[in-house]
């Protein structure tokens, strides 16, 4: 199954990934092949039933949709094959992604989470005797108060009222003055006790307690940097897009919230919305450092290291104007790599560029990648490479310890 899911990625199902809902896996991934013949040319005879008007020698038009005679006579194997193609597995998006990312993980995720505990959250932490009035736990307070009133034998208001009524009645009828005196005394004691034992005492008060609990940051931002200069063809951009999309889906599974920032550059860099990023063609030279500078600016502006997990992916065909590569490498090393969790450099190139050997950027980044494991660089030439490159980048490493 996992295999089927992976194959499905190559078959454009990727688009469905970003949208949720269900993912269908065509059954031809699970096709069971066998040797069987197909009628392609020559002669064959077909016997059918239900003749109404034909006589020997009549000629019929071929039914549309192939050589099969009126829906009959097509070879068995052929029929089976078609029937199976119509069948699909339906997985929910989560099931699919579980299979798809089964053995991948984010590099350095845990280490960073421990470091980045700047955000906190309020968590209930029991009951306390003091606190602000807004956090009074009314039911607990009243329970305490009731217990104390019973314990200290505070007379109930009803009892006091009954005493008062009886006294009034006896005063009106004016018989048995001894009993009246006794009642008055009793009322006086009761009133005194009521005044001494308060309805709610400060010692009854109970407050809900909250504590500030440090929380690992569950936000991530993903920077997509792409060269859109004239040398990048549509198919190269398509490759890049596939990689970005995979990364986005992958990050979404690990973080509650994933922001995406698209930065495109020619000899100048700018932040653009997604549609523009992938569709709007530009012409011009290539100065990679502009994009890196824009990255740093946006990151400092909006995504402080303390509260964001930062990922970056750069896609390029590897061209850069000669003098700029050194600057780009320096910026990468000093400004960018220290703040990001991971920086993936994908070189999308068509075969011609590969033949030329190493590109400007590749040559610049390669020594850096050796020193800094956060920087990973891969080449992708065809659509089907993307997935293996992606898996390669995020494969679970055995020795993380």
């Amino acid at each position: 199954m996992a295999n089927a899911a992976r194959v499905a990625i190559d078959k454009n199902t990727l688009r469905e990934l970003g949208q949720g809902g269900t993912v269908t896996i065509p059954a031809d991934v699970l096709h069971e092949p066998s040797f069987h013949t197909v009628f392609t040319s020559g002669q064959r005879e077909i016997v059918l039933s239900g003749n109404k008007q034909f006589s020997t020698g009549d000629r019929l038009k071929r039914p549309p949709g192939g050589a099969g005679g009126a829906g009959g006579g097509e070879g068995d194997g052929q029929g089976n094959g078609e029937a199976e193609d119509g069948f699909r597995f339906v997985l929910t998006r989560d099931e699919f992604l579980d299979l798809f990312f089964e053995d991948l993980e984010l590099p350095d995720l845990i280490k960073r989470q421990i470091v980045a505990t700047e955000t906190t959250t309020l968590t209930r932490a029991g009951i306390s005797m003091d606190g602000s009035p807004s956090r009074v736990d009314m039911s607990r307070t009243m329970r305490q108060s009731l217990a104390r009133r019973i314990g200290l034998r505070r007379p109930k208001p009803v009892e006091v009222r009954e005493l008062e009524e009886e006294i009034a009645r006896r005063e009106a009828s004016n018989d048995d003055p001894d009993r009246l005196r006794a009642l008055r005394l009793e009322l006086e004691v009761a009133l005194r006790r009521m005044a001494r034992v308060p309805w709610v005492d400060p010692i009854d008060m109970r407050y809900r307690r909250f504590e500030q609990v440090p929380k690992p940051s569950t936000r991530a931002v993903m920077f997509c940097l792409m060269d859109v200069s004239g040398s990048m063809s549509e198919s190269m951009k398509d490759l890049a897009k596939r990689f970005f999309l995979l990364l986005h889906v992958f990050l979404q599974r690990r973080y509650k919230r994933v922001d995406v920032v698209f930065i495109r550059h020619t000899e100048v860099a700018e932040e653009v919305p997604e549609e523009v990023f992938f569709t709007d063609p530009r012409t011009g030279g290539t100065v990679v450092s502009t994009a890196l500078a824009e990255f740093t600016r946006i990151q400092r502006d909006r995504y402080p290291v303390a509260s964001w997990n930062i990922y970056a992916a750069q896609a390029s065909d590897g061209d850069n104007s000669g003098s700029d590569t050194q600057r780009a490498v320096a910026m990468l090393e000093t400004d960018i790599l220290p703040v990001v969790q991971h920086f993936a450099y994908i070189e999308v190139s068509l075969s011609a560029a590969i033949v030329r050997g190493e590109t400007d950027l590749w040559r610049g980044y390669a020594p850096l990648a050796e020193r800094m494991p956060k920087l990973a660089m891969r080449r992708a030439m065809e659509r089907r490479d993307i997935f293996s490159v992606f898996r390669d980048l995020f494969a679970r490493r055995a020795s993380v310890a």
Binding site: F35, H36, G42, Q43, R44, I46, V47, G50, L60
Partner: protein, 510 residues
């Protein structure tokens, strides 16, 4: 004939009803029709269980493989959406013969399917020469249990991926796992287990590291090397699975055993498609006859008999070629039932035409004896060639089309008239000929001492090449089992011209 009391009335049934029906049916089947059956075991199952039975090709148990899960999902989704309904019964060619009846059948349907499966199919399984020759009904259940536990053990020891790899490859060749011309030796669980044990012991006992150091023997001079090689390996060989199991240089012994399991199970299923028309025709004719007799003897009421007629006529419906429900080919129930009913008619009330066409059986007055003879000794192809009568052709209004890709139109070259009868009959019988429908792929050469490339040949009929994509994929599976390069040539059977070549190398696993 005594008029018996009703076996049941209404639609409800309980196990006592089933037993009464079964006894009454058995009396008719053995006393009047003279059927010889395996002992019966009848189980009543739910629709869920029926889906499970479908999944395992109608077997009660099988080993684990993903293709069964795939099949289950297919059946299940089409059943849930109402595209197909489930069968009323499934019957297994085993001794005792197991029939599964659906629990939601009515009392009449239970009686009908008992007659259909537990007596019709059962008699056919026991007596038809193909089943007698190719299948061992008393051993199959034990063998499946052995296969299941053996493959489970392999999964534990070597991992599911390794087992799956062999099973996938072997499944793709399951249609090429039969010695078509040799018949089969009966299988026996005890001897299978013994054989496997002996194979291991032999391997261990003959292992001697010294052999490795011996110099190679010199090849025999002056021999035709190719002919000698072919003789020694028994080539050409059409049983690809058997060849791979015995001769593949790279397989481990458990892998050979797994291939053997797939091969033997495939062989068990080998006769089924060759006698589909006869098998269903036999069962339908038997159940119709038995239910009719039950009604004649007053053991079921008119309402029940109407239900029988309704059900049978649904089963034997043959839509015309232009009907939207028409599938490819003929409905085997309809064709088989029609021809068998016709044979019974010819035996009892022949016309002049029948006497001319069937002098041997016309008017012999013994329809059941004649049918028993037919059931035992024919398969679909020979059955139709021998017994498809002009009357049945007229009833079906059969006609023959000639599809010549060189022509822009299809030609109607025979209809159901005096000139056409024999042509139609021959063409229809040919379409059931397994020799023409199965692709003829054989191993023709391999150089075990050289590059070990395996060479296969497909002898084609009338320009029918292998489906290209599937052939390549299957060839990759063969290469995986063989371990070296495999090449497949498609050769015109008449002119020996090579029409296409396929190649595959094993994928080197990392």
């Amino acid at each position: 004939m005594t008029i018996g009391p009703l076996l049941y009335s209404g639609t409800d049934w309980d196990f006592a009803t089933l037993l009464r029906s079964y006894d009454a049916i058995e009396r008719i089947a053995t006393d009047e029709l003279g059927l010889e059956c395996y002992p019966n075991r009848i189980e009543v199952i739910s629709s869920e269980q029926m889906l499970d039975v479908y999944t395992a090709h109608g077997m009660p148990l099988t080993y684990r493989h993903w293709s069964y899960g795939k099949r289950f999902l297919q059946h299940e989704s089409s059943y849930r959406r109402g595209y197909t309904s489930l069968a009323y019964e499934v019957v297994i060619n085993s001794n005792p013969c197991i029939s599964y009846l659906m629990e939601e059948n009515t009392a009449t349907m239970q009686a009908l399917v008992t007659a259909h499966a537990a007596f019709g199919h059962n008699h056919f399984f026991r007596n038809n020469h193909l089943f007698r020759q190719w299948t061992e009904a008393s051993a199959i259940l034990d063998y499946l249990a052995f296969a299941r536990s053996y493959i489970a053990t392999c999964e534990d020891r070597f991992g599911t991926a390794a087992v799956e790899r062999v099973l996938d490859a072997a499944h793709s060749l399951s249609r090429h796992g039969v010695h078509r011309h040799g018949g089969s030796r009966p299988m026996n669980l005890k001897s299978e287990e013994k054989r496997e044990r002996e194979r291991l012991e032999y391997d261990e006992s003959v292992y001697d590291d010294l052999w490795r150091t011996l110099p190679d023997t010199k090849p025999v001079q002056g021999m035709d090397k190719v002919a000698e090689r072919q003789r020694r390996l028994g080539l050409p060989e059409e049983n690809l699975l058997h060849f791979l199991e015995k001769s593949s240089p790279r397989l481990q012994s458990w892998e050979r055993e797994v291939i053997r399991i797939v091969r033997l199970i495939a062989q068990y299923f080998y006769p089924q498609p060759q006698v589909k028309v006869m098998n269903e025709g036999c069962a339908t004719w038997v159940h119709q006859r038995i239910m009719t007799r039950l009604h004649e003897t007053g053991q079921i009421d008119d309402a029940a008999f109407l239900e029988v007629l309704h059900s049978t006529s649904n089963v034997i419906m043959q839509p015309g070629f232009d009907h939207p429900a028409a599938g490819p080919g003929f409905n085997p129930y309809a064709l088989g039932y029609a021809v068998m009913t016709d044979i019974a008619r010819v035996c009892e009330a022949p016309t002049a035409e029948d006497r001319k066409w069937f002098p041997d059986i016309a008017g012999n007055g013994d329809p059941t004896g004649t049918l028993r003879h037919v059931w035992a000794n024919y398969r679909d192809e020979s059955f139709l060639l021998q017994f498809l009568s002009p009357k049945v052709m007229r009833e079906f209004r059969m006609f023959r089309l000639l599809d010549d890709t060189a022509e822009p139109t299809l030609l109607v070259d025979a209809i159901h008239d005096d000139e056409g009868y024999r042509d139609i009959r021959r063409a229809l019988a040919r379409s059931y000929d397994p020799g023409l429908n199965d692709s003829d792929v054989q191993v023709i050469d391999v150089d075990l001492t050289g590059d070990r490339r395996l060479i296969l040949e497909h002898r084609t009929h009338a320009g029918q090449l292998l489906s290209h994509k599937d052939a390549d994929a299957t060839l990759h599976y063969i290469a995986a089992l063989w371990g070296y390069e495999v090449r497949l040539q498609e050769v015109d059977a008449d002119t020996e011209a090579v029409l296409a070549t396929h190649k595959a190398s094993p994928i080197v696993s990392v």
